[in-house]
Symmetry: C2
Subunit: 282 residues, 2 copies
Amino acid sequence: MVELLGKPVADAICANLKDSIEELKGKNKIPTLAIVRVGNREDDISYERGARKRFADNNCDTRVVELSADVDQDELEKTIVELNNDSSVDGILLFRPLPKQLSEARIQKLIEGDKDVDCMGLENMARLFAGSKEGFAPCTAQAVIELLHHYDIELKGKKVTVIGRSLVIGKPVAMMLIKENATVTVCHTKTEDLIGECKNADIIVAAAGVAKMVSAEYVKPSSIVIDVGMNVDEAGKLCGDVDFAGISEIVDRITPVPRGVGSVTTSVLLKNTVANAIKSTK
Amino acid sequence: MVELLGKPVADAICANLKDSIEELKGKNKIPTLAIVRVGNREDDISYERGARKRFADNNCDTRVVELSADVDQDELEKTIVELNNDSSVDGILLFRPLPKQLSEARIQKLIEGDKDVDCMGLENMARLFAGSKEGFAPCTAQAVIELLHHYDIELKGKKVTVIGRSLVIGKPVAMMLIKENATVTVCHTKTEDLIGECKNADIIVAAAGVAKMVSAEYVKPSSIVIDVGMNVDEAGKLCGDVDFAGISEIVDRITPVPRGVGSVTTSVLLKNTVANAIKSTK
């Protein structure tokens, strides 16, 4: 078994951006991400910390816009419009889910596609669906693709089973894998023969949100397993959707949790923000 | 073998719309489709004829806007904006592909989502991808779903193999089937084991654009085969992606070509146009 770690992928993405960031600096442009956080959810703050460090380590900027948990829709929309119009902002990340009083649907229409670096808006969803060269995918979905490419895992013609059909991972990663010429099966809670669909696949992308669900019977010796799960197990420890201990000795390659796909996402966020900074200075 | 004909599906859709159309008439609203045709392609004109008849037969209107084959982008965009703003127009259908001098991408952004009854624009693509209740799918993809529902074909948990990944059928029908709780595999020219993926499926949706490709080895006695192909065979006759003569005695249920899915599309166009007329009078 080979463990597919996220850090080398993240490092390679950042190394690739170095020259572009330097060049932008020469044009007095520092790629800048605006992070809009409503309230103080612990996982938002933790992700924010990681993103800020990633940007700082790569000579890029972040700006946190903190709104109170009881902010109203108008105020949130005003914030997004201001950031859309602010030429010093290259990317906008809005943490979700939003508190109940807020409508995500209206923000999806409002956010400027080129600044929508985590694909929350309709414009980038449509681009993703259409297989356009423009636009950005959700960072975690893109991180899966970056990881597969980094480790030279062949996708063309391969059978990939995606477990999960969410708008942030399952469906976008399916669209991207189809574009990469994989044969993609999307499974979910209603799938009758999930084990068969996984066992038949060359690659499994687990994004079900169920701790340690993918067990020994789902895999074979040639399986490549990408675990996008982020759960807490019975001992209170972070774990994925895959029973790592139970299958790691069976499969060919596997991403751990933590230290797998999750380690790549902030680099994708940086990559997307830099891409838009380059576009806006052209 | 049971032949799944399109006409009963189309008739049922229209019968269901009768009361709504009557009610709209009472409000002086006649659901109206604007058909924008660039040039005089034979298949556009043939589809136009079918759509006009369908609307007329159901007491609804069509308005054809004919543009010359060498029209420029500005003129086409002006036409779309006028139709967007015309409150007597409830739906807009623009024939594609467009001549080379025209950019479809700009129209995709311009067309008003609620009038985009064949899902050519970004807004409806995003809604489709997101699984939203709003918006319209491409008529042919929607026709597949209408046909499956009409014949009470169970989708929940079933394995559906879609052959083709186009923006008008393959990808949208996959998204709709996922929403219907089917387990969906999207296959295409790069798929390694297409026969296996089809033979394993409960339902096959063939939208490859290759005449009579799906032959006896792709199916089993329980297969349900939906043929979305529209090709011309060696004898110059219209045929589907399925070798009907070769498999019809093997499979459980199958749509013919012609008289199958294709017979349903103009009713979907009518359904979508009426839906927007209702929305706009509320």
